[in-house]
Symmetry: C2
Subunit: 463 residues, 2 copies
């Protein structure tokens, strides 16, 4: 029986060094979606390998067609210890609009944002560098006290999670035997609130698609041609405006195939969590749920599919005014999927709808940006029960089983390609501003996250 209290004490003693190590990782500008940061992504992978080797892992940078993977192995304390695959990602989102950051995104800081509440600031502190480092630092404390880990651990750190993970499937296929474990631990999710840990059991899937509508073969003067020549922005806005009906439902043919109503008892459970529209949206300056009418914000974000325009551009967007009819206009659109919605069918329905709206003298190009189905995990597996107990003990508050609005495609890939379920535990908070300027991670999330993983590893090792 491991002496968990000594490991937890060591995690407490290590905290300042743990923060320094996370800050070293955050300083590396590993933006995966922008080719300009390719060398920085590799640098992050190499940094992680050095750290993992330092605590006894057999770790290596593994090349892919895109950004490299980090794979590391560590045996368990006993030959029959359970074997888990821990997953995180070292890449981060772009930082624009850069002018809205209070500090440089890659110069992390500790800040006290309210009395007694300290946060770690910088791009990737919450998504996902801080989260993956909670596990690395828990392993460090364990090794320093016991010279071993209670369970056998394989680690997989990806560098393309924020850009559609193009290399992941081939890598899992090529290395299935090496990566297969009994189940996966995925640390890329959040707490219910600052005091209440959570395990996610339902995740929405994602289809990303970019459309480029082309009209005239050059930009036109709107005085000479306006009223006669096709304006691709008009075509595009018509298409996008038609994606939702007046009740907020998505209009694509067959879009709701595979979408089941959430069971009443689950919805009732969510209602007891006390998350009103006002409390959920008030934190970001909004108040009115915008999607399907008559559903709670938890249902809208956990259990209902969506169509969202994530970016749009066309024509003159600089300072001042230019009376131009653009040659082309484009939009990036994503669909969040639930239940058994088929990503390929959703993409094809969207494309068919778009094609039906293109005038005969214009054209459209489609660019695929990733696809993953929704995930529904078992509510009563032994791993989930053990992890729930360990989290509840650390946080002195019962852990809750929740849904997740964001997709984590890796969970579907682990199911499909490696036959593994995943345990989704993370310590992010709703105000972490992931994907936005001024991203942060609570110091409490980082500290108690490290302690939580020490407890979870201990619990999982128990028969």
């Amino acid at each position: 029986m491991t002496d968990i209290s000594a490991v937890l004490d060591r995690a407490d003693q290590n905290l300042q060094d743990s923060i320094d190590r996370l800050f070293s990782l955050v300083r590396i500008q590993s933006i995966s979606t922008d080719p300009a940061y390719k060398a920085e992504c590799r640098k992050a992978a190499e940094w992680l390998v050095v750290e993992l080797k330092g605590i006894g892992f057999d770790a290596s940078v593994r090349d892919t067609a895109g950004h490299p993977m980090v794979v590391a192995h560590h045996e368990g304390a006993t030959a029959d210890a359970p074997h888990v695959l821990f997953y995180g990602h070292y890449d981060v989102q772009p930082v624009d609009p850069i002018e809205l950051w209070e500090d440089s995104p890659f110069e992390p800081k500790i800040k006290e944002i309210s009395p007694g509440r300290k946060v770690l600031t910088g791009r990737g502190t919450a998504d996902d560098k801080g989260q993956l480092m909670t596990f690395v630092e828990a392993c460090r404390a364990y090794k320093e006290i016991n010279g071993s880990l209670p369970i056998r651990v394989t680690i997989l750190f990806e560098g393309e999670e924020e850009s559609g993970s193009p290399s992941l499937k081939p890598f899992l296929d090529a290395n299935a035997a090496e990566l297969k474990a009994e189940f996966a631990l995925v640390c890329d999710t959040g707490m219910w609130d600052g005091d209440t840990p959570a395990i996610a059991a339902a995740l929405r899937g994602l289809v990303g698609e970019e459309i480029v509508i082309k009209a005239a073969d050059r930009d036109l003067h709107s005085g000479l041609f306006g009223g006669a020549a096709a304006n691709p922005i008009h075509i595009l806005t018509g298409i996008l405006a038609g994606l939702h009906d007046e009740t907020g439902r998505v209009t694509l043919d067959g879009f709701y195939e595979g979408v089941e109503e959430t069971p009443t008892n689950i919805k009732e459970g969510w209602e007891t969590l006390g998350r009103s529209s006002e409390s959920f949206l008030g934190g970001v300056g909004l108040s009115i749920p915008s999607g399907e009418k008559g559903r709670s914000v938890l249902e809208l974000t956990w259990a209902r599919p969506t169509a969202e325009v994530n970016g749009i551009t066309g024509g003159y967007t600089g300072e001042g005014f230019k009376t131009v009819i653009a040659a082309q206009a484009s939009a990036k659109v994503s669909f969040r999927l639930v239940g058994d919605q088929n990503p390929a069918k959703v993409r094809e329905a969207f494309r068919a709808y778009v094609r039906s709206k293109i005038p005969g003298d214009c054209s459209v190009e489609f660019h695929e940006h990733g696809a993953s189905p929704a995930i529904q995990l078992s509510y009563d597996s032994p791993e989930l029960t053990k992890a729930k107990a360990a989290l509840s003990e650390e946080w002195k508050n019962p852990a809750v089983i929740i849904g997740m609005g964001g997709s984590i495609p890796i969970v579907g890939d682990f199911q499909k390609q490696l036959g593994m379920d995943s345990l989704l535990v993370g310590f992010g908070l709703v105000d972490d501003r992931i994907h936005s300027p001024n991203e942060k991670y609570d110091l409490k999330s980082y500290h108690k996250g490290i302690r939580s993983w020490a407890r979870i590893m201990t619990a999982l090792a128990q028969k």
Copy 2:
């Protein structure tokens, strides 16, 4: 009686030098809408003053709150010679998308684009530097032969025509006595085709407006918030898509107040010009008229009002994909006006429509980008008759009286502020690519444009 043939011969002899002078002006990067080019705009104004002084004008750079004006005066050969105000603009459009230019936009060249057809390439060659230089070079030839000009000339060159002319009205007000003439000559329009000169008698007006829709107080993760949080791109696309009905008509309340149907005899005249949808749109890779159903392309672009989105942006528009719900989205929208449409009423109708579509927890900002009513000039003034005869003689082809799709706000300002009508004569062609990459001006337009002004000045001087 002026010896016009000697003046025309001198224009012919001067041609290479005339081209060189135009190229010097084109090399100055006088993009008025972008504050980064402020010094270049002044440089263009100063260059023009030097040239005008060189041919005997009393010329000066005149400061405004924005880019400077050029004002120059020259007396006529006789005390009772008519007095005209010649107007052009030395500022140019931005050059983006720069990657589509075959040559650097500010390094003008002479190119032979088909056997015997030479063009002058570069930003501003057609709009409006080449055009205004036709008049300057005509004055030069006149001065060199006769030592005088047949009419009294005041010149006004503006530097803000491509950015809404914010300084023009105050400048006209402050200098009305100095600038007032019997009528104006405005050289910022086109020929009917490469062999057929034209005088424009109807011009559409313009209202420019930018809207910025604001939703959450930060960019949001579409997984965490998608389906519940307002997406400003959805609001914006809904607004823009609703600007037109299924027949192509603009839906704003009262938009068509002041719009008269074009008289049947005028429309019949236009039909004889042989401008089909295919010939008009085919030159830019299109074929289907996109605006109001059942009207010819000439009617659509000369005699019908429009609403066009000139630019749109929101969310992530870089490489790759970012699953963000943007905090804001914006669009630049312009309305072309005809007849007696009231620009202020059109703007207010648009704003009221937009406001009616903004959810209670979102907001909208409006930014005004210029306004001018439509212009309808007299078809039978003596000046128009003389100019038509002079043009017909130079081009060996009858000049036609046409409408113009683009607004030239200065014409309305001259009417309203100085009580002057304008004679709209220019030598641009439909394929000049003004406002687009690879702008050009036909060498024939430049050469015969210079000769045309020499003939027009002569004709206007005759009793």
